[in-house]
Symmetry: C2
Subunit: 327 residues, 2 copies
DNA sequence: TTGAAAGCGCTACCAG
DNA sequence: CTGGTAGCGCTTTCAA
């Protein structure tokens, strides 16, 4: 400690922390010494003593994905407002990695956790929660434990999108989406089915492709939907990755379909036609989750909250092509 | 410490750290106690003793920007390989915030720093570096201090892009870019000027717009370039933000220009025509920077390195429209 | 193979 | 107003 260096001894702590009870004169002397010796307080040690680390951990699927990076930014801003630093880690949708990451953050004694879960079982978090780590789940709820969660209205959003296509006159509407083992994917598929049922429209197995991972999968799925005498005239895509893959394949095939996608994406408005989407608001999700986390950290009690955010239909052209205008 | 709880006392440490010299029997007993009591090692305390924190700090402009989020992901992957956790912070291009963030990371005693600088003066880092914090700068070099840096060939990339337009037969080529006070922006503008000079083409002041921040600015700039009897037939955009704004404005105007943009972006290939770009590789930049950082952390000496990465011309259509084919 | 003590850098608490 | 002392939870060093 640079105490003796200046002149005073462990009064340094007081001046560093702006505590009351120090003569301006001595304070100034200490400050000079600090400056001269290049003293840097070790927050690690400080926070070992005080108990909280003024840092939170964010575990998400992939920080490189624009959706999550937008969310991440919102979380960071709220954390900054509260004087907290942010640890980030990508799980790559791997439950084991999620767990490792989360536990590593806990070992660092983060004050709180924001988790976009990849795992279905978060009982491993129970001891941590008992030890006082606050945690908020985003995009998908926690598995097997009660915890705060900020979610989108996945089913409702998909229903709105498909209903929009129906209202344009479409009767044969396809669906391409993720593995229904994924929480959001299952709900979106459900929304699709609900919309059809509500309109009294028949579904058909060949019109649905789940667990489509890549371009090849999309190619096969589309080929199936477009084959035969009564091909699909419209398509609902379960996420923006699929939407983009479909757009590429449609371009290759030289075909046009009326199309609505779940999730907005950059430049969706600049394509021709513009892509109609069901938009979530990742920033808003991050902001709300982070605010809730800090309220918990501030001592707010009450049962686990489940906040569901509405989605928004943004019409840009691709979803407003009636069946008769298709080539 | 959960020592007395199990049975043994501070032998726990040995077990937790897989140190040699523990009977399997006692080890098992300790492990059981750990499990039972839900013991969680406090890495903060551990690392206070050992001196290194197994964490690095990344300060960038905006984690919400796809370019930086891709870079960030690459850094995270390398950090993970080395058993390090990652602090992330966005400076919003504000020198003060960059400094705050960096110093906050240093107070947390991160082992190393990866900085995408917003500031022109990094002398504030000197004491930290003297204290042993390794640091690598990315995208732009450090200001006023010698430090490792990983950069793109901004001038060369811009020169390639503009030369490409010239080779398509264009003689009146405009440039819209950022404030030349920004390191990368100045170099890209220089590349543009160099390419024109090299081809013996005249420049014209009205063809250049620097420090264009928003859609309104782009609108004005384009109007100027397209006015008169000898309007610009091609355009080089200094960054992807500008490229997208230009695309929107051209769509509004119903005009076409041959166009090359610095920086690749999602869906550039799906637009009609596809957008020809000079691509950087943000992942590669992040990866290289992080690897260099960990080599420094491992004790590699030598003078500050300056690594310059090549850019890549990706032709997709927009840059291959000859002047005579423009409406 | 195991135990005890010292100390990392800081703040909390109680004396002076 | 200022100083000393204890101790946060861990590792390290030396002794048993």
């Amino acid at each position: 400690m640079a105490a003796r260096a200046g002149v005073a001894l462990k009064t340094v702590s007081r001046v560093v922390n702006d505590e009351p009870g120090v003569t301006p004169a001595t304070a100034e002397r200490v400050r000079a010494a600090i400056e001269a010796l290049g003293f840097r307080r070790n927050d690690g040690a400080r926070l070992l003593r005080t108990g909280h680390t003024a840092s939170i951990g964010l575990v998400l699927e992939d920080i490189g994905d624009p959706f999550y990076s937008a969310l991440s930014r919102a979380v960071e801003d709220v954390a900054h407002q509260h004087g907290s630093l942010l640890f980030t880690g990508s799980s790559d949708e791997d439950p084991l990695r999620e767990r490792e990451l989360t536990l590593a953050f806990c070992a660092r004694r983060v004050d709180g956790l924001i988790i976009i879960p990849a795992s279905e079982d978060h009982t491993y978090l129970l001891p941590e929660i008992a030890a006082g780590v606050a945690s908020v789940f985003v995009d998908r709820p926690a598995g097997l434990i009660g915890a705060d969660a900020v979610l989108s209205d996945n089913a409702g959003g998909a229903r709105t999108g498909v209903t929009h296509l129906i209202s344009q006159g479409h009767q044969r509407i396809g669906y391409i989406g993720d593995d229904p083992g994924i929480y959001t994917a299952a709900l979106r598929h459900r929304g699709y089915l609900d919309a059809l049922a509500q309109a009294g429209l028949p579904g058909q197995e060949s019109w649905t492709a789940l667990a489509v991972p890549d371009a090849a999968g999309v190619q096969v799925a589309l080929a199936r939907m477009l084959a035969g005498p009564a091909p699909v005239t419209a398509l609902f895509c379960g996420n923006s990755r699929v939407t983009v893959l479909v757009l590429r394949e449609l371009a290759v095939l030289g075909r046009t379909l009326s199309l609505v996608g779940f999730d907005d994406f950059e430049l969706a408005d600049l394509l021709t036609p513009g892509i109609t989407v069901i938009a979530q608001d990742p920033s808003e999700m991050g902001r709300i989750a982070a605010k809730l986390l800090f309220r918990r950290l501030a001592g707010e009690g009450g049962p686990a909250q489940r906040i569901e955010l509405a989605t928004r239909l943004i019409t840009r052209g691709s979803g407003e092509i009636p069946p008769e205008r298709l080539g």
